[in-house]
Symmetry: C2
Subunit: 462 residues, 2 copies
């Protein structure tokens, strides 16, 4: 007993760090499905994969985000005495990458990058310290065509976001803006040099209301009451997309920058509709700014209709210069980032994530241990026809083996004894319906594909 | 000029840490293809994905590999004062994971995990400090059926390792052993308690030759000359698989453990052949031990026939207890790890990696900027039929746009002007052959798929 206790004492407690997670199969299987679909969309537009190191020289990472990201950085001195840090986003490494490899990659350059990033966030807010980002960007062009494409990619990804089916998901909306519109409005009012405090005040609209925003625009920013109200009128344009754009054109009359912003939005709406995206998929929201300094043109945010409180699940926009800290070459671009963990949390909350712990549809129990080579043969034949098969390794009772398969969510089982082998048949059991049929071994793949196609949705968790 | 110089001075040099790499599209595209195929194979056997954090408590990582891995560990104190480290392999995190989640995952449990690991290796040896491992394991069973499955998975992955085609790759061999055979032989000779120094001497056979090994087995290990030569006879069995196994059965007569090892190898050979794997795919090599202490049963190594010097690209074996440091529950298992970076280096050396910087087969130049919405419409239609399309964003000269596409390795271009729109047609150009045909817009997808199917191999790098 005391020896056992001593043994117990010596065990290391298996645990993960605060803010870090293990992913079990039931979480990873739908995640991988989602990731594969996201990558499919990126690739279908010609975006190419890149990868960069998790560790970067600290000087590459420091001062590139905000004071907060600096504070949250996982940083240390490596054994060679270098100051290093773990990346906190995929934009800074991409900027470094672009500057370093510009002559090899050429422009325009379209990349996607799906990878983990790390931030020492306050975990009390339900935040994770390790999470995944899915970024895509087009750099080296100022063309609105790349803005259009960004909107299309966001749309196509969100249309495929329901892991339960291949049907088009439609319960989301993409909010559109162009930073040129507000800049143009400020310009027109002679407030261009006061844009930062004015926009900072504007950003509080939802929280503090019109009058307080007007007051704040007057106080630190020096806007008159009339100017403030005009900005607010531009920023809070409501109504149908066409009406908003017409009104903005009137407001911005004579201001090239502002009118260019409106024209960009018109181009995005026209081309996405030509590509088959329903008009109501987009909403114009002139108030969204997504950080005051970085974005300079089109801005995108996107929301799940049934869970707006989740916040934007895929956001981005156009910027004037990606890599100014690392190269003198100006690299304008446009892109967006999908927060996989936030999106996944939203889908889970909406009941769209079904729990399965299996990657196959077919199970072969070890019904008769002496027939294992035969089972391997049957399984190999099915795999050659694209059907995944799991074999049970141990000669347990059939009921226990089938229970294992059912618990994992495997749909079909093939039960074969020596009698069936002699007769060249197998029992094909539907673990969901409880049905069973005898099938010739050489017709097995066909029967399986037919059964799966007859009701392709995975088993519901009850 | 001096202002420019000052600007130049302030730029941060874009660079990566020693031993760390950026992956450009031409490297990432074939890598992603390979990874997708590996995952396909894992899944087709019912292995499930898991993921674990990059950072672990230091106590989880320390002392689990060798002194060398301890020394190479990237470790630091996080801002909360915790001693943490970056994982150096996927086995230790899996052991921790299994102990922590055992009641949720149940057994048998089959997982795969593809992820990066970090080791502060000496980069002069051409080693990287950040590299990717692709592990798969079956735990909670001692059944030889899981050993068989491990061999099949290794075989199926390597059969699909040629990214240039979907044809079966055959130029590799899997070396098989069972640790039970040498243990049985030592047992039979009464040398069981001296197995470590004896096996350590044996490990040097290729380097120092028979006589020196016999001498070393005598000296520190205390084996007689006869015993040493008998061990060597068992270990260096040459010839056809059947002959080796028959000879081993004679050598090990009366020793249950050793005979069990031979029986395991027979079972693996029989079942893999039943599953369609050619017999010559396997070679018995009783001398391979892969670390003296960890593996206890079947052992696998695999080699590219045309590049044996590369070393084993996928190795593993059976072990008695995965997670003894973290749980009292015994978790026997079997698995293997594919070194993606080593494999990829080998394929590159063998000229099997073709350089492409594109993820699509079809390119639409912005031939007439006023028609961009039409181009987005055509592209969207093709994407709905599963055809990836890249649009050029800028209205450059057609020749420059097509050159961009050709350089990236895109096969086909669709050139459409206002005249073609009126007539409802497009010019489909084959950038490889230089051919061109006029195709009705509503027949475009069919023509593209036909052209691609007629010669599906990607363009050769000349």
């Amino acid at each position: 007993m005391s020896a056992e206790k001593e043994q117990k004492k010596k065990l290391i407690e298996p645990r993960t760090l605060k803010g870090f997670r293990d992913f079990l199969p039931e979480a990873m299987i739908p995640r991988e499905k989602l990731i594969a679909r996201i990558v499919d969309v990126y690739r279908s537009y010609g975006f190419c994969p890149i990868d960069t190191p998790v560790l970067e020289y600290l000087e590459i990472l420091m001062g590139k985000g905000s004071d907060e990201t600096d504070k949250q950085l996982y940083r240390f001195e490596d054994s060679g005495g270098r100051e290093v840090g773990m990346r906190f986003d995929l934009t800074v490494p991409f900027a470094r990458f672009s500057a370093q490899h510009l002559s090899e990659i050429g422009t325009p350059f379209k990349r996607y990058h799906l990878a983990k990033v790390w931030r020492g966030e306050n975990t009390q807010a339900g935040r994770y310290r390790e999470f995944m980002q899915c970024d895509f960007d087009t750099i080296g062009t100022t063309s609105v065509n790349s803005d259009i494409e960004t909107a299309l990619v966001i749309n196509d990804i969100l249309e495929r976001v329901d892991p339960r089916s291949d049907a088009t998901f439609t319960k989301f909306q993409i909010h559109l803006n162009s930073r040129k519109i507000l800049s143009g409005a400020l310009d027109k009012l002679g407030l261009a040099d006061k844009s930062t405090p004015v926009l900072r005040a504007l950003d509080k609209l939802a929280k503090i209301g019109v009058d307080a925003v007007v007051a704040e625009m007057a106080q630190p920013a020096g806007a008159t009451d009339g100017q403030a109200r005009e900005i607010l009128e531009v920023a809070s344009s409501q109504g149908a997309t066409d009406e908003i754009l017409a009104r903005l054109e009137k407001n911005l009359e004579g201001n090239d920058l502002g009118l260019q912003g409106v024209a960009d939005l018109r181009a995005i709406l026209e081309a996405t509709q030509a590509a088959g995206v329903p008009a109501e998929r987009f909403a114009i929201d002139v108030s969204i700014a997504r950080g005051l300094d970085y974005y300079t043109g089109a801005i995108f945010e996107s929301f799940l209709t049934d869970y707006p409180k989740l916040g934007s699940v895929c956001s981005g926009g156009r910027y004037d210069n990606l890599a100014e800290l690392y190269t003198k070459q100006t690299l304008p671009g446009v892109g967006a980032s999908l927060g996989l963990d936030r999106l996944f949390a939203g889908l889970e909350e909406l009941g769209m994530i079904e729990k399965t712990s299996s990657t196959v549809d077919v199970f072969i129990p070890l019904f008769d241990a002496s027939l294992s080579s035969k089972y391997f043969e049957i399984a190999a034949g099915l795999r050659r026809q694209g059907i995944g098969v799991e074999l049970y390794p141990e000669p347990k009772k059939l009921g226990a083996q089938l229970k294992y398969a059912d618990k994992k969510g495997i749909r079909l089982a093939i039960v074969v004894g020596s009698d069936e082998i002699i007769r060249g048949v197998a029992n094909l059991k539907d673990l969901r319906s409880g049905g069973q049929e005898e099938v010739k071994l050489d017709a097995l793949a066909g029967s399986i594909l037919k059964t799966l196609a007859s009701d392709p949705t995975p088993k519901k968790d009850v």
